[in-house]
Protein backbone atom coordinates (compact mmCIF):
# COMPACT_ATOMS: atom_id res chain seq x y z
CA UNK A 1 0.00 0.00 0.00
CA UNK A 2 0.82 3.66 -0.07
CA UNK A 3 1.08 5.30 3.33
CA UNK A 4 1.05 9.00 4.04
CA UNK A 5 1.54 11.16 7.08
CA UNK A 6 -1.93 12.23 8.17
CA UNK A 7 -0.66 15.59 9.35
CA UNK A 8 -1.20 14.75 13.01
CA UNK A 9 0.89 11.95 14.39
CA UNK A 10 0.18 8.86 12.37
CA UNK A 11 0.65 7.27 9.04
CA UNK A 12 -2.42 6.11 7.23
CA UNK A 13 -2.93 3.99 4.19
CA UNK A 14 -4.25 6.05 1.31
CA UNK A 15 -4.12 3.57 -1.53
CA UNK A 16 -3.62 -0.10 -2.19
CA UNK A 17 -1.94 -1.61 -5.21
CA UNK A 18 -3.62 -4.07 -7.47
CA UNK A 19 -1.72 -7.22 -8.48
CA UNK A 20 -0.58 -5.61 -11.69
CA UNK A 21 0.47 -2.41 -9.93
CA UNK A 22 2.45 -4.48 -7.43
CA UNK A 23 4.31 -6.27 -10.21
CA UNK A 24 5.07 -2.99 -11.94
CA UNK A 25 6.22 -1.40 -8.68
CA UNK A 26 8.46 -4.40 -7.97
CA UNK A 27 9.94 -4.06 -11.41
CA UNK A 28 10.61 -0.36 -10.81
CA UNK A 29 12.41 -1.06 -7.54
CA UNK A 30 14.42 -3.90 -9.08
CA UNK A 31 15.46 -1.54 -11.87
CA UNK A 32 16.41 1.02 -9.27
CA UNK A 33 18.58 -1.65 -7.63
CA UNK A 34 20.12 -2.44 -11.00
CA UNK A 35 18.73 -5.99 -11.13
CA UNK A 36 17.09 -7.57 -14.13
CA UNK A 37 14.72 -9.77 -12.19
CA UNK A 38 13.96 -10.93 -8.71
CA UNK A 39 16.39 -13.57 -7.40
CA UNK A 40 14.70 -16.69 -6.06
CA UNK A 41 17.06 -18.50 -3.72
CA UNK A 42 15.20 -21.35 -2.02
CA UNK A 43 16.10 -23.03 1.22
CA UNK A 44 19.16 -21.03 2.26
CA UNK A 45 19.05 -19.53 5.72
CA UNK A 46 21.19 -16.58 6.67
CA UNK A 47 22.26 -18.03 9.96
CA UNK A 48 22.94 -21.63 8.96
CA UNK A 49 25.55 -21.22 6.25
CA UNK A 50 29.07 -19.86 6.51
CA UNK A 51 28.95 -17.43 3.57
CA UNK A 52 25.70 -15.59 4.52
CA UNK A 53 26.94 -15.42 8.12
CA UNK A 54 30.20 -13.88 7.04
CA UNK A 55 28.42 -11.39 4.79
CA UNK A 56 25.93 -10.44 7.49
CA UNK A 57 28.82 -9.81 9.91
CA UNK A 58 30.43 -7.67 7.27
CA UNK A 59 27.20 -5.76 6.65
CA UNK A 60 26.70 -5.17 10.38
CA UNK A 61 30.27 -3.92 10.73
CA UNK A 62 29.73 -1.48 7.90
CA UNK A 63 26.41 -0.25 9.28
CA UNK A 64 27.78 0.16 12.78
CA UNK A 65 30.70 2.04 11.26
CA UNK A 66 28.28 4.51 9.74
CA UNK A 67 28.93 3.39 6.19
CA UNK A 68 25.49 2.12 5.27
CA UNK A 69 23.91 5.40 4.27
CA UNK A 70 26.39 8.05 3.41
CA UNK A 71 26.07 11.62 2.34
CA UNK A 72 27.42 11.10 -1.13
CA UNK A 73 30.89 12.32 -0.25
CA UNK A 74 32.17 8.94 0.82
CA UNK A 75 33.25 7.27 -2.39
CA UNK A 76 32.96 3.62 -1.41
CA UNK A 77 32.57 1.21 1.49
CA UNK A 78 34.74 2.32 4.40
CA UNK A 79 38.19 0.81 4.58
CA UNK A 80 39.78 -1.11 7.40
CA UNK A 81 36.69 -2.86 8.70
CA UNK A 82 38.02 -5.93 10.41
CA UNK A 83 35.97 -9.11 10.58
CA UNK A 84 36.88 -12.00 12.83
CA UNK A 85 40.20 -10.36 13.73
CA UNK A 86 42.01 -11.46 10.63
CA UNK A 87 40.97 -9.69 7.47
CA UNK A 88 40.33 -6.20 6.22
CA UNK A 89 37.69 -7.00 3.70
CA UNK A 90 36.22 -3.84 2.28
CA UNK A 91 39.21 -2.40 0.39
CA UNK A 92 37.14 0.48 -0.93
CA UNK A 93 34.87 -1.84 -2.90
CA UNK A 94 31.49 -1.11 -4.47
CA UNK A 95 30.32 -4.70 -4.47
CA UNK A 96 31.31 -7.51 -2.13
CA UNK A 97 30.12 -10.96 -3.08
CA UNK A 98 30.39 -14.40 -1.54
CA UNK A 99 30.47 -17.49 -3.74
CA UNK A 100 29.24 -20.96 -2.82
CA UNK A 101 31.27 -24.02 -3.85
CA UNK A 102 29.53 -25.73 -6.80
CA UNK A 103 32.15 -28.49 -7.29
CA UNK A 104 29.49 -31.20 -7.08
CA UNK A 105 27.86 -29.84 -10.25
CA UNK A 106 31.05 -30.01 -12.32
CA UNK A 107 31.84 -33.33 -13.92
CA UNK A 108 35.63 -33.28 -13.68
CA UNK A 109 35.58 -32.02 -10.05
CA UNK A 110 32.86 -34.27 -8.64
CA UNK A 111 35.14 -37.19 -7.73
CA UNK A 112 37.34 -35.28 -5.33
CA UNK A 113 34.81 -32.93 -3.83
CA UNK A 114 36.74 -32.19 -0.64
CA UNK A 115 39.80 -31.18 -2.66
CA UNK A 116 38.08 -29.23 -5.40
CA UNK A 117 36.19 -25.95 -5.63
CA UNK A 118 34.13 -24.27 -8.31
CA UNK A 119 32.86 -20.72 -7.89
CA UNK A 120 30.43 -19.40 -10.47
CA UNK A 121 31.68 -16.10 -11.90
CA UNK A 122 29.20 -15.99 -14.77
CA UNK A 123 27.28 -13.09 -13.21
CA UNK A 124 30.41 -10.94 -12.96
CA UNK A 125 30.96 -8.68 -15.93
CA UNK A 126 34.39 -7.51 -17.14
CA UNK A 127 33.31 -3.96 -16.21
CA UNK A 128 33.84 -4.92 -12.59
CA UNK A 129 37.43 -4.87 -11.41
CA UNK A 130 38.50 -7.43 -8.84
CA UNK A 131 40.03 -5.52 -5.94
CA UNK A 132 40.66 -8.70 -3.98
CA UNK A 133 39.37 -12.24 -3.75
CA UNK A 134 39.92 -14.87 -1.12
CA UNK A 135 39.08 -18.47 -0.43
CA UNK A 136 38.08 -19.21 3.13
CA UNK A 137 38.39 -22.73 4.56
CA UNK A 138 37.66 -23.79 8.10
CA UNK A 139 40.22 -26.00 9.82
CA UNK A 140 39.66 -28.06 12.94
CA UNK A 141 42.60 -29.30 15.04
CA UNK A 142 44.16 -32.35 13.41
CA UNK A 143 43.94 -35.62 15.35
CA UNK A 144 47.70 -36.17 15.20
CA UNK A 145 50.97 -34.46 14.16
CA UNK A 146 50.33 -31.66 16.69
CA UNK A 147 52.81 -28.85 15.97
CA UNK A 148 54.15 -30.20 12.67
CA UNK A 149 53.92 -27.78 9.77
CA UNK A 150 51.88 -28.43 6.66
CA UNK A 151 51.51 -26.47 3.48
CA UNK A 152 48.02 -26.00 2.07
CA UNK A 153 48.38 -25.41 -1.67
CA UNK A 154 45.64 -24.07 -3.89
CA UNK A 155 45.92 -24.61 -7.64
CA UNK A 156 43.94 -23.19 -10.53
CA UNK A 157 42.77 -25.91 -12.93
CA UNK A 158 43.38 -25.09 -16.58
CA UNK A 159 42.68 -26.80 -19.86
CA UNK A 160 45.50 -29.03 -21.09
CA UNK A 161 46.61 -29.74 -24.64
CA UNK A 162 43.49 -31.68 -25.49
CA UNK A 163 39.91 -31.50 -24.09
CA UNK A 164 40.44 -34.45 -21.74
CA UNK A 165 43.63 -33.13 -20.19
CA UNK A 166 43.85 -30.67 -17.35
CA UNK A 167 46.80 -28.92 -15.84
CA UNK A 168 47.17 -27.22 -12.49
CA UNK A 169 48.87 -23.89 -11.83
CA UNK A 170 49.87 -22.71 -8.36
CA UNK A 171 47.59 -19.94 -7.14
CA UNK A 172 48.14 -19.57 -3.41
CA UNK A 173 49.58 -21.45 -0.45
CA UNK A 174 49.72 -21.19 3.30
CA UNK A 175 51.88 -22.92 5.90
CA UNK A 176 49.80 -24.04 8.89
CA UNK A 177 50.48 -26.08 12.00
CA UNK A 178 48.38 -29.22 12.47
CA UNK A 179 46.95 -28.01 15.77
CA UNK A 180 45.66 -24.72 14.36
CA UNK A 181 41.90 -24.19 14.54
CA UNK A 182 40.00 -21.48 12.68
CA UNK A 183 39.46 -19.97 9.24
CA UNK A 184 42.26 -20.10 6.67
CA UNK A 185 42.29 -17.33 4.09
CA UNK A 186 43.92 -17.73 0.68
CA UNK A 187 44.50 -14.89 -1.74
CA UNK A 188 42.75 -15.72 -5.02
CA UNK A 189 42.78 -12.27 -6.62
CA UNK A 190 44.67 -13.50 -9.66
CA UNK A 191 42.24 -16.39 -10.31
CA UNK A 192 39.18 -14.19 -9.79
CA UNK A 193 40.50 -11.57 -12.24
CA UNK A 194 41.20 -14.34 -14.73
CA UNK A 195 37.66 -15.74 -14.43
CA UNK A 196 36.12 -12.28 -14.64
CA UNK A 197 37.80 -11.40 -17.93
CA UNK A 198 37.57 -14.88 -19.38
CA UNK A 199 34.73 -16.89 -17.78
CA UNK A 200 35.27 -19.93 -20.02
CA UNK A 201 38.69 -20.50 -18.47
CA UNK A 202 37.11 -21.14 -15.07
CA UNK A 203 37.65 -24.85 -14.52
CA UNK A 204 37.80 -24.71 -10.75
CA UNK A 205 40.45 -25.03 -8.06
CA UNK A 206 42.33 -27.97 -6.64
CA UNK A 207 43.75 -28.27 -3.12
CA UNK A 208 46.78 -30.23 -1.92
CA UNK A 209 48.03 -30.54 1.64
CA UNK A 210 51.72 -31.34 2.00
CA UNK A 211 53.27 -32.66 5.22
CA UNK A 212 56.47 -30.60 5.00
CA UNK A 213 58.68 -32.89 7.14
CA UNK A 214 58.01 -35.92 4.97
CA UNK A 215 57.08 -34.08 1.78
CA UNK A 216 53.97 -36.17 1.23
CA UNK A 217 50.35 -35.41 0.49
CA UNK A 218 47.74 -35.91 3.24
CA UNK A 219 43.95 -36.00 3.02
CA UNK A 220 42.15 -32.72 3.84
CA UNK A 221 39.84 -34.37 6.41
CA UNK A 222 42.81 -35.83 8.30
CA UNK A 223 44.39 -32.42 8.46
CA UNK A 224 41.09 -31.04 9.81
CA UNK A 225 39.82 -29.12 6.77
CA UNK A 226 36.03 -29.07 6.95
CA UNK A 227 34.51 -30.53 3.80
CA UNK A 228 31.02 -31.22 2.51
CA UNK A 229 30.19 -33.53 5.44
CA UNK A 230 31.01 -30.86 8.00
CA UNK A 231 28.61 -28.36 9.56
CA UNK A 232 27.00 -25.77 7.28
CA UNK A 233 28.50 -22.81 9.11
CA UNK A 234 32.02 -24.12 8.47
CA UNK A 235 31.64 -24.81 4.75
CA UNK A 236 34.28 -23.30 2.44
CA UNK A 237 33.39 -20.25 0.39
CA UNK A 238 34.98 -17.50 -1.62
CA UNK A 239 34.64 -13.75 -1.19
CA UNK A 240 35.26 -11.24 -3.96
CA UNK A 241 35.67 -7.49 -3.57
CA UNK A 242 34.82 -5.60 -6.73
CA UNK A 243 35.07 -2.04 -7.92
CA UNK A 244 32.48 -0.95 -10.45
CA UNK A 245 33.15 1.43 -13.26
CA UNK A 246 30.86 4.52 -13.26
CA UNK A 247 29.09 3.36 -16.44
CA UNK A 248 27.45 0.56 -14.47
CA UNK A 249 25.36 3.04 -12.53
CA UNK A 250 23.85 4.60 -15.63
CA UNK A 251 20.38 3.21 -16.10
CA UNK A 252 19.55 1.82 -19.46
CA UNK A 253 16.54 2.98 -21.42
CA UNK A 254 13.75 0.42 -21.15
Amino acid sequence: GVYRDNGVDRTERTAEFSGRDKREMQHEILTLLGLHHRPKPAGHSTTDYSAPRFMLNLYNSITSDGGIVDDGNRPQFPRNVTIENEIEPTEGSDVIMSFVNHAKKIKHLRRQRDRTFYFDFSEITPKETVARAELRLYKEKAGKWKKHKFQVQIYMIQQGDNPENYQIVTESNLTVRANYQGWLTFNLTNAASHWTYSPTTNMGLFMKIIFLKKNRDVKPEKFGIVGRKGPEYKQPFMVGYFRSTPELHVRKTR
Binding site: G1, Y3, D5, N6, G7, V8, R10, E12, K22, M25, Q26, I29, L32, L33, G34, R38, P39, K40, P41, A42, H44, T46, A51, P52, M55, L56, L58, Y59, N60, I62, T63, G67, I68, V69, D70, D71, G72, R74, Q76, F77, D94, V95, I96, M97, S98, F99, V100, H102, D120, E123, H249
Partner: protein
Protein backbone atom coordinates in the same frame (compact mmCIF):
# COMPACT_ATOMS: atom_id res chain seq x y z
CA UNK B 1 -25.50 10.56 12.30
CA UNK B 2 -23.22 12.49 14.63
CA UNK B 3 -25.32 11.51 17.66
CA UNK B 4 -25.32 7.89 16.56
CA UNK B 5 -21.56 7.97 16.14
CA UNK B 6 -20.99 9.54 19.56
CA UNK B 7 -23.18 6.88 21.15
CA UNK B 8 -21.34 4.15 19.36
CA UNK B 9 -18.00 5.64 20.34
CA UNK B 10 -18.93 5.93 24.01
CA UNK B 11 -20.26 2.36 24.01
CA UNK B 12 -16.89 1.13 22.77
CA UNK B 13 -14.83 3.64 24.71
CA UNK B 14 -12.60 0.94 26.19
CA UNK B 15 -12.18 -1.02 23.04
CA UNK B 16 -8.84 -0.03 21.53
CA UNK B 17 -9.63 -1.39 18.12
CA UNK B 18 -12.89 0.52 17.89
CA UNK B 19 -11.21 3.65 19.20
CA UNK B 20 -8.58 3.32 16.52
CA UNK B 21 -11.33 2.77 13.95
CA UNK B 22 -13.28 5.89 14.90
CA UNK B 23 -10.09 7.93 15.06
CA UNK B 24 -9.13 6.96 11.53
CA UNK B 25 -12.67 7.53 10.36
CA UNK B 26 -12.75 10.98 11.91
CA UNK B 27 -9.48 11.82 10.22
CA UNK B 28 -10.87 10.80 6.87
CA UNK B 29 -13.72 13.27 7.34
CA UNK B 30 -11.33 16.10 8.08
CA UNK B 31 -10.88 17.95 4.81
CA UNK B 32 -7.35 17.39 3.57
CA UNK B 33 -5.14 20.12 2.27
CA UNK B 34 -5.19 20.25 -1.45
CA UNK B 35 -2.08 18.69 -2.93
CA UNK B 36 1.02 20.85 -3.31
CA UNK B 37 -0.15 23.50 -0.85
CA UNK B 38 2.94 23.05 1.31
CA UNK B 39 6.36 24.48 0.53
CA UNK B 40 9.03 22.27 -1.00
CA UNK B 41 10.21 19.77 1.58
CA UNK B 42 11.61 16.31 2.06
CA UNK B 43 8.92 13.77 2.87
CA UNK B 44 9.29 10.24 4.19
CA UNK B 45 8.59 7.18 2.13
CA UNK B 46 9.49 3.94 3.87
CA UNK B 47 10.23 1.06 1.55
CA UNK B 48 9.62 -2.18 3.42
CA UNK B 49 10.99 -5.25 1.65
CA UNK B 50 8.72 -7.59 3.62
CA UNK B 51 5.65 -5.86 2.14
CA UNK B 52 6.92 -6.82 -1.28
CA UNK B 53 7.50 -10.42 -0.18
CA UNK B 54 11.22 -10.01 -0.78
CA UNK B 55 12.40 -11.11 2.66
CA UNK B 56 13.54 -14.48 1.26
CA UNK B 57 16.23 -12.88 -0.87
CA UNK B 58 16.99 -9.52 0.74
CA UNK B 59 18.86 -10.32 3.94
CA UNK B 60 19.38 -6.76 5.14
CA UNK B 61 18.12 -4.14 5.70
CA UNK B 62 14.41 -4.82 6.42
CA UNK B 63 13.60 -1.67 4.51
CA UNK B 64 14.87 1.83 4.06
CA UNK B 65 13.76 5.42 4.28
CA UNK B 66 13.60 6.28 0.61
CA UNK B 67 12.33 9.88 1.05
CA UNK B 68 11.05 12.05 -1.74
CA UNK B 69 10.67 15.76 -2.46
CA UNK B 70 7.27 17.37 -2.63
CA UNK B 71 5.82 20.85 -2.38
CA UNK B 72 5.49 24.15 -4.05
CA UNK B 73 8.22 26.46 -5.26
CA UNK B 74 6.24 29.68 -5.55
CA UNK B 75 7.41 33.28 -5.48
CA UNK B 76 8.98 34.63 -3.24
CA UNK B 77 11.39 31.72 -2.95
CA UNK B 78 13.00 32.97 0.25
CA UNK B 79 10.53 30.96 2.30
CA UNK B 80 11.30 27.75 0.45
CA UNK B 81 13.84 25.14 1.26
CA UNK B 82 17.28 25.40 -0.42
CA UNK B 83 16.15 27.56 -3.32
CA UNK B 84 18.99 27.95 -5.79
CA UNK B 85 19.89 31.20 -7.57
CA UNK B 86 18.84 29.47 -10.73
CA UNK B 87 15.39 28.86 -9.20
CA UNK B 88 14.98 32.58 -8.50
CA UNK B 89 15.84 33.47 -12.10
CA UNK B 90 13.62 30.67 -13.34
CA UNK B 91 10.72 32.03 -11.27
CA UNK B 92 11.15 35.52 -12.72
CA UNK B 93 11.27 34.19 -16.26
CA UNK B 94 8.25 32.04 -15.54
CA UNK B 95 6.33 35.05 -14.21
CA UNK B 96 7.17 37.01 -17.33
CA UNK B 97 6.49 34.19 -19.80
CA UNK B 98 4.42 31.58 -17.96
CA UNK B 99 3.65 29.55 -21.08
CA UNK B 100 7.23 29.42 -22.28
CA UNK B 101 9.29 28.82 -19.15
CA UNK B 102 8.22 26.39 -16.45
CA UNK B 103 8.30 27.35 -12.79
CA UNK B 104 11.11 25.87 -10.67
CA UNK B 105 10.47 22.41 -9.32
CA UNK B 106 10.96 20.76 -5.96
CA UNK B 107 13.71 18.15 -6.40
CA UNK B 108 16.57 16.48 -4.49
CA UNK B 109 19.65 18.62 -3.94
CA UNK B 110 21.74 15.99 -2.21
CA UNK B 111 21.65 12.20 -2.53
CA UNK B 112 23.15 9.45 -0.41
CA UNK B 113 23.78 5.77 -0.99
CA UNK B 114 22.16 2.64 0.40
CA UNK B 115 23.79 -0.75 0.91
CA UNK B 116 21.74 -3.90 0.43
CA UNK B 117 22.67 -7.49 1.29
CA UNK B 118 20.88 -10.07 -0.85
CA UNK B 119 21.00 -13.59 -2.27
CA UNK B 120 21.32 -14.11 -6.00
CA UNK B 121 20.08 -17.11 -8.00
CA UNK B 122 23.20 -19.17 -7.23
CA UNK B 123 22.89 -18.83 -3.43
CA UNK B 124 25.75 -16.34 -3.54
CA UNK B 125 25.37 -13.37 -1.24
CA UNK B 126 25.93 -9.89 -2.60
CA UNK B 127 26.64 -6.77 -0.57
CA UNK B 128 26.12 -3.89 -2.92
CA UNK B 129 26.20 -0.19 -2.40
CA UNK B 130 23.65 1.67 -4.50
CA UNK B 131 24.67 5.28 -5.00
CA UNK B 132 22.17 8.13 -5.19
CA UNK B 133 19.36 6.10 -3.62
CA UNK B 134 18.48 8.21 -0.61
CA UNK B 135 17.30 11.82 -0.81
CA UNK B 136 19.29 13.71 1.80
CA UNK B 137 17.81 17.14 1.11
CA UNK B 138 15.35 18.82 -1.23
CA UNK B 139 15.26 22.23 -2.81
CA UNK B 140 13.77 24.42 -5.51
CA UNK B 141 15.63 24.18 -8.86
Amino acid sequence: AAVRRRMKESAYANDDEEEQYSYTKALRRTPRRAPRQWPCQRRTLYMKFRDLGWQNWIIAPDGFKAFYCDGECSFPLGAHMNATNHAIIQTLVHLMTPYKAPSPGCAPTKLGSQSVLYFDHNYNVVLKRFPDMIVKSCGCH
